[in-house]
């Protein structure tokens, strides 16, 4: 069994590029060039240099002493929250802005849910002096106000998506429409391992730095490159893809993907795609998605804007279908509680997206000598008001 992408852009049954002809030249240009460009020494050098000096990589692998004690296992946190801009998202936007430059693009568009990808995109656009337009659902603009403010400070234009559920899915639709309208000078920086091939693979490769680092960091700390478990939350799935990447084909490493169950998997207000989804097409990719019997895409719900998406990337659809990864769904309440617990046990306030990954301990028991790496995908600064309101602090 092969878990990574095939030459023709599929993970098992999932993936491909189901795009309107208007996008074909852009996507095809990218498909033909992305691997070549990523292999260029000058690209690699610039990418690695920026990751080091600008993003602050390597992000630490931190042994969480008090959390480990509480759950009687060995928990390491991969500190993507310490990246510049506060989440894993920037690994990808650094890569894509360099890609866009090499493709001769001058205008950047992006969608964003939690705003982290929007901020990470606005950031690299400022860094490179490029025009930046970020689409963001109207609801997410309200619930992630700090990130909207950051994008404005960075000189980006934030355009509200007013259709549908007015969240990430709709922001993505708007971004795609913009791209259709601006096929020559514009690069679309997708923020997760979703979208038409080659996006899922390209984004996963940029995020793969996460598991690459985990390998040598774990070697330093535990004398081996492989943990027993890697745990990550899944919205589109980019932080999980990055954390899983180098372990995909090594089945000794168990992979746990954590989805948002919202108010309960079967409450009608959920984003638990693996449980509720069926195969279909969303945003140019064949994958699992939540949809009506009729094939209309369902409006998802999660307290976390970044997991409030009705699909998962095709890699994750494949990992789910093959059983390579275990999928666990976590409710809003469980996530919030886990976020507070991490704050007070380890002094790290996680993004609410990330909090979902920390809520698995009631669902999953680990052995005392299991090495469990949790990808701490982002920090919670953007979510403070939500936490405060929730806990009435």
């Amino acid at each position: 069994m092969k878990y990574n992408i095939s030459n023709n852009g599929y993970y098992g049954d999932f993936g491909g590029a189901y795009i309107p002809e208007m996008l074909y030249p852009n996507v095809e240009e990218l498909r033909q060039n992305y691997l070549k460009i990523m292999a260029e020494p000058s690209f690699k050098e610039e990418f690695n240099q920026l990751l080091k000096d600008y993003v602050g990589r390597p992000s630490p692998l931190y042994f969480a002493r008090r959390l480990s004690k509480k759950y009687n296992t060995k928990i390491y946190l991969k500190r993507e929250d310490l990246n510049h801009t506060g989440a894993h998202k920037v690994n990808n936007t650094i890569g894509q802005i360099l890609m866009a430059q090499r493709l001769g693009k001058t205008r950047i568009i992006a969608e964003t849910g939690a705003g982290q990808h929007g901020v990470a995109t606005a950031t690299v656009c400022a860094l490179m002096g490029m025009e930046c337009i970020v689409y963001m659902g109207e609801i997410d603009i309200a619930r992630q106000a700090p990130n909207v403010a950051r994008m404005k400070m960075l000189g980006a234009k934030v355009v509200p998506a007013l259709s549908g559920s007015r969240t990430l899915k709709d922001a993505t639709n708007e971004a795609i429409r913009d791209w259709i309208n601006n096929p020559i000078n514009t690069h679309y920086i997708i923020g997760s391992v979703v979208g038409p091939h080659p996006y899922p693979d390209m984004v996963a490769r940029f995020q793969a730095v996460v598991s690459e680092e985990i390998q040598w960091q774990l070697k330093e700390k535990e004398g081996k490159t492989t943990p027993d478990y890697v745990v990550a939350c899944v919205g589109g799935g980019s932080n999980a893809a990055g954390a899983f990447y180098h372990y995909l084909e090594n089945t000794n490493v168990k992979l746990i993907a954590v989805e948002a169950a919202g108010k309960g998997i079967h409450s009608g207000e959920s984003a638990a795609t693996s449980v509720l989804g069926r195969e279909g097409i969303i945003h140019g990719s064949k994958t699992l998605l939540m949809q009506t019997k009729d094939g209309q895409i369902t409006e998802p719900y999660s307290i976390s804007a970044g997991l409030d998406y009705p699909g998962v990337g095709p890699m994750h659809a494949h990992l789910y279908k093959t059983g390579r990864a275990e999928f666990i769904s976590i409710t809003d309440d469980e996530a919030m509680t886990a976020g507070l617990e991490l704050s007070q046990l380890e002094g790290i306030i996680p993004a609410i997206e990330t909090s979902h990954a920390f809520a698995i301990f009631d669902h999953k028991k680990f052995k005392a000598d299991d090495v469990v790496v949790i990808n701490l995908s982002g920090r919670g600064d953007k979510d403070l008001q939500n936490y405060i309101d929730y806990f009435k602090l």
């Binding site: 491909g16 074909y24 030249p25 259709s163 549908g164 279909g280 969303i282 094939g295 209309q296």
Partner: protein, 254 residues
């Protein structure tokens, strides 16, 4: 012979109209179709509404959303259309996104189209190569013409490839844009129309996107076989209702 091919042989510029099935009211579908035919429209694209129509501009998006709210589904549409061939003879095409068809089952969907008297399909997010590899045989088995889009950015090789696997017409998107965005054609468009004409493709071209008036219709059909109007017609429906379709069509064909 498929009604589309027959129609394309007629020695005239073809006017094709798109509308979202189930809009403005769920049961307007049939009367809109009949009305359009009555008023001289040559071909109709029946929009099967989709929740996330990412190639569409605000007008068609809004009408799709409204149609879904009204209760439109694939099943409902086929039901509404089940007797359409008793009254309507012009070519009918279903235009919709791929996911609802996939969920219905592609073969079942095609079969149902055939039974209903649908002549062709336009599926913007079903790429040519996937169609070619996986679905061409099925479409052909049920006598359906699949219509592909080309844009000003489409390469010559690709146009030739699309032409080679097409067997009806080519949907020539007037400019790189979602539906409903352009206002009038400039040099860029007319040059593009000419350029394609000069390629002497085996399939005629029908222009879509940005046609909203007698003037743009005439411009578009200078080089092309016909033109498709979508957003402008839906705007007319929204403002003036189903009973004034003749006004709209005569405004275009004036």
């Amino acid at each position: 012979m498929n009604r589309i091919n027959q129609k394309l042989k007629e020695d005239k510029k073809l006017l094709s109209i798109y509308f979202s099935a189930g809009y403005p009211n769920l049961n307007d579908t049939v009367s809109i179709i009949e009305n359009l035919e009555k008023n001289g429209v040559d071909m109709i694209e029946i929009g099967l509404p989709f929740s996330d129509p990412l190639a569409d501009g605000p007008t068609i998006q809004a009408s799709s959303t409204e149609a879904l709210k009204n209760g439109m589904t694939t099943e409902v549409l086929f039901n509404q259309l089940k007797d359409i061939r008793k009254t309507v003879t012009i070519p009918l095409i279903i235009m919709g996104y791929f996911n609802p068809m996939l969920q219905y089952g592609v073969e079942a969907f095609c079969e149902k189209c055939q039974q209903t008297g649908i002549d062709g399909l336009i599926i913007p997010d079903l790429p040519v190569d996937v169609y070619n590899e996986r679905y061409k045989a099925t479409f052909e088995k049920y006598g359906l013409i699949n219509v592909f889009l080309i844009t000003p950015q489409t390469s010559i090789e690709r146009i030739n490839f699309i032409d080679s696997i097409s067997n009806g017409f080519i949907y020539m998107v007037s400019s790189a844009s979602v539906t409903g965005s352009s206002s009038g054609f400039g040099d860029e468009q007319t040059n593009y129309f000419k350029r394609i004409k000069n390629m002497k493709l085996k399939n005629p071209q029908i222009v879509g996107f940005g046609i909203n008036s007698n003037e743009t219709f005439n411009q578009a059909t200078l080089s092309a076989k016909g033109a498709i109007i979508g957003s402008a017609f839906i705007k007319h429906l929204s403002k003036k209702g189903v009973n004034t379709i003749h006004e709209f069509v005569s405004g275009i064909l004036r």
